[in-house]
Symmetry: C2
Subunit: 240 residues, 2 copies
Amino acid sequence: MAHADRLIRRLCVSNRLDPADLAAITALPIRERKLDPGSVIVQEGDRTDQCCLIVDGFAYRSKTTDDGKRQIISIHMSGDIPDLQSLHLHVMDAELRTATRAVVGLISHDDLRMLNRMRPTVAEALWRETLIEAATYREWIVRIGRRQALSRVAHLIAELAERMTKLGLIENDTLNLPMTQYDLADAVGLTPVHANRVVKTLREAGVLDFRRNMVRILDHEKLRAIGGFHPLYLHQSPEL
Amino acid sequence: MAHADRLIRRLCVSNRLDPADLAAITALPIRERKLDPGSVIVQEGDRTDQCCLIVDGFAYRSKTTDDGKRQIISIHMSGDIPDLQSLHLHVMDAELRTATRAVVGLISHDDLRMLNRMRPTVAEALWRETLIEAATYREWIVRIGRRQALSRVAHLIAELAERMTKLGLIENDTLNLPMTQYDLADAVGLTPVHANRVVKTLREAGVLDFRRNMVRILDHEKLRAIGGFHPLYLHQSPEL
DNA sequence: CGGTGGTTTGATCAAAATCAAGTGAGGTGG
DNA sequence: CCACCTCACTTGATTTTGATCAAACCACCG
């Protein structure tokens, strides 16, 4: 699949775009780069003149407190442009780092601004993508602010399953997810030790099997029930 | 101050707008409405065809879990358009409610879309506002995911003080903030009882005095130190 | 075959939740 | 004008959740 096609597949989950829009996106100059796991894409404090499209692999956005605690803030996958915001926010306020070996596509701000001016529908779709990301943050806040450990983990996995399903990245209930239990802990605001105990509980309850590089969901219903997960906030349809 | 001026004051904290842009904003039709404290502005699940500008007073955005726990997600004040997102997200995923008696201005989506088309710089400024809100969510996640109770409260108050200062809403270190300790607890992911103990600790440490309808900051330095607060993420300058 | 990064488990501790019972100020109706 | 009510705040006692500390374990890799 060509690089722009990943972006198009992603945008078409939540947006209605016409052929001319798709053609304009396909014509976008994209420079490919292959990255090792753990590579920094942007750092807190950076200024940049390009956006990074995740073609293959995963990336985490995170912030670190003064006393060295890391919080993962978002998880990005094929088709996401996690730093689309850099188009209008000039100094990055969080770090972005690959979680896996990854292929990314770099798109210059100038080209994106040109595209936005020529194709207002695409501009709206991109704005909308940033708003969906914000909606995901809102739910993330509720997850760690008002849910217990078990529910937090279930809710996060349910979200990832939902997003990956819409992109066709799931085969027989197995997410090809490169998350260590340390990452999981940093995403849901727990310690690794406690995250491990939660994972164990979910495994023993027959809900999921969580391993390095793979999460297998055994009982979707139960997973959503434990997490209190309702996918509305992902706005995964042009009508929502 | 006219309604549009509140919006302009707010936008000019983070954006550079030229006189023609300001004139276009001033020309925007805005219908005034006065609301009692606790009025619902939009509900989860709503579809709407207008955006709400907060002219005077405060509003909270919140979500409630299946088991009835409320999490406050954002706090809005004079000049904010908290549901600007509704321009591109069609179904609301959170509730928005006034915290005080408030004056709001309603602006139709059609008028906003027209403005965006005529004045691309204004469109960019509005997009940027939604991105700053997202940045604020990111920090909110870190606050409740990776900070202790004392630090959470200090960090939130430091943020509000910073934002209100830039809008000129603070007089001799006193924020005219209509927050009960229940609200505070729901914002930082604590129980009201524990929030109260934290407030007491901060008062006894000579950092702040927190009362219904008023927070007085006695030691800004200490407040920021306890909260680990760094205002970069608020992007409160056109350069950031 | 030893190292390393990730996972697992147990024991103990600390932070915050929960339960319970006041206090106190402001607002309303008799 | 007082009595009472309500909403917010406060405090103490106890329990729970998750953190911390410590030690294996395990699989993959060079």
